[in-house]
């Protein structure tokens, strides 16, 4: 029956249902990725992020939570200029994170 509305789907990141396999694999491959403290330095300096909606910090965090929807396409916005890596206070190879996420998600 058409009621003129449908049941809204939950917005919550559901760690009981999300498939964390890619996230786990990536963390094994690159443990330094986990050292991210969410400071946002990468996003602040990001060439692409200053011109588009691309938010590297947010997208890679979503991937860590097993939320992969659209992440590959988002990561394509990265121009691999490497400025983020220069600012990261935790010395994370951020460009490497971009490439790793793209590789693992293209296989996913």
């Amino acid at each position: 029956m058409d009621f003129g509305f449908s049941i809204n789907r939950p917005r919550a990141v559901d760690l009981d249902k999300n498939d964390l396999s890619v996230s786990r694999k990536a963390l094994m491959e690159m443990p330094e990725w986990q050292a991210c403290i969410g400071c946002g330095g990468c996003t602040a300096t990001c060439t692409a992020g200053n011109l588009t909606q691309f938010n590297f910090r947010k997208v890679h965090t979503l991937v860590r939570r097993g939320d992969y929807q659209g992440a590959y396409e988002e990561m394509n916005k990265c121009m691999l200029c490497g400025k983020c890596r220069l600012v990261c206070p935790r010395g994370i190879n951020t460009r490497g994170v971009v490439m790793m996420i793209k590789r693992l998600l293209s296989e996913y």
Binding site: M1, F3, F5, S6, I7, N8, R9
Partner: protein
């Protein structure tokens, strides 16, 4: 429930002599409940309670939908208190959770900002010539019934026990947000583990179900159902709760809020029609009762006199479990014996796919 610290959150509830005000919507959706409350208080518990035709809506729906300004609702509330004062009563009890929230909010506002009380007295006097005393005791009617749960238990005819298994019925209790989330100390047991309904259930032989989304709102939320485009959000909340309580196989839901009773009941219909999902035993829905209906059944009132034919989810499976005799032929006869009309069969009561086909038959 394992928690017993509810005893630390006690509120004062008057023992007798109540001035009673009704809800706007309950008389449509659960029409026997308010009468049952008055009957139970007067005849079974032996208390003095007065109801007057002069009282009005508290205008809470308008207030929460941003169409009634605060000065207006304060004056309406003041008028209700004036009627109580004129009738010689001091204990005010309201049938609606939102009204209870409103009365509490206005009293607290007057307490914190005395100039608003002064202004309200002036408005009321100018408009109606009336004056008022603030109630000595303000309680929701579920508080009053909670207070007298022992007296009701003493007269119990049908405890909340499954007559086939001898086991306590498993009951989901749901408290309206405006009961204790606005002013937690005004609710029996506070807002996280309220005891007002749980206390009745336990006194009358049932078992309270604590499920993960117990504290989640039913989704009523005024603007969220008044506007059709928002209803998907409203129904999603009930859906979340129903999914969460499902594994516990509750025998029924009891609520103390007009909106919660209505939406937890009626959204089951909507969900069944939209998605084919039904809940409860054999997929025939989980009956949703008001606490007056629950008390009425326990005391041996006739389910049709309690107005339970107006529920969306059929209550017959529950009546059978409680061993309550009822006349199926009388279900859709009004008090005068006249046929009151009968709803189309609905998926929610039949454990089947949505009903468009049935409708055309």
């Amino acid at each position: 429930m394992k928690r017993n610290s509810w005893q630390e959150y006690q509120k004062e509830i008057a023992d007798d002599d109540y001035y009673y005000v009704r809800s706007c919507i309950r008389q449509n959706f659960f029409p026997g409940s308010e009468k049952a409350f008055l009957d139970i208080l007067r005849n079974d518990v032996g208390k003095n309670i007065i109801e007057e035709p002069m009282h009005t809506s508290c205008t809470g729906i308008g207030y929460h939908s941003d169409i009634v300004p605060m000065e207006t609702i304060m004056t309406v509330v003041a008028r209700q208190f004036a009627l109580m004062t004129e009738a010689g009563f001091e204990n005010f009890t309201s049938s609606c959770i939102t009204s209870f929230g409103i009365y509490t909010e206005m009293l607290e506002t007057w307490h914190e900002f005395p100039e608003t009380e002064e202004r309200t007295r002036e408005y009321l006097y100018k408009a109606t010539g009336r004056e008022f005393n603030k109630p000595k005791n303000l309680a929701h009617t579920s508080d009053v019934m909670f207070k007298h749960r022992g007296a009701i238990a003493a007269k119990m005819k049908h405890p909340l026990v499954n007559v086939f298994t001898g086991r306590p019925l498993r009951v989901v209790e749901h408290i309206g947000c405006h009961y204790a989330k606005i002013f937690p100390k005004k609710g029996v047991g506070g807002s996280e583990f309220p005891y007002v309904l749980a206390g009745m259930i336990e006194s009358w032989g049932g078992e309270v179900v604590d499920y993960p989304e117990r504290r989640h709102c039913c989704g009523f939320g005024f603007r969220n159902y008044l506007v059709q485009a928002n209803r998907g959000f409203s129904v999603a909340n009930s859906h979340k709760k129903l999914e969460s309580m499902k594994p516990y196989k509750p025998d029924f839901i009891v609520t103390n809020c007009p909106g919660c009773s209505m939406f937890l009941d009626k959204w089951q219909y909507t969900i069944a029609e939209m998605e084919g999902d039904t809940y409860g035993q054999d997929g025939r829905g989980i009956p949703v009762l008001t606490y007056e209906e629950m008390a009425g059944l326990v005391l041996g009132y006739d389910p049709w006199a309690l107005g339970m034919q107006m529920h969306q989810v059929d209550v017959e499976p529950l009546l059978d479990k409680m061993g309550i005799a009822y006349d199926p032929a009388a279900k859709y006869l009004g008090p005068n014996g006249k046929f009151i009309g009968q709803p189309d069969p609905a998926a929610v009561n039949m454990n089947c796919t949505p009903t468009p086909i049935l409708r055309t038959l």
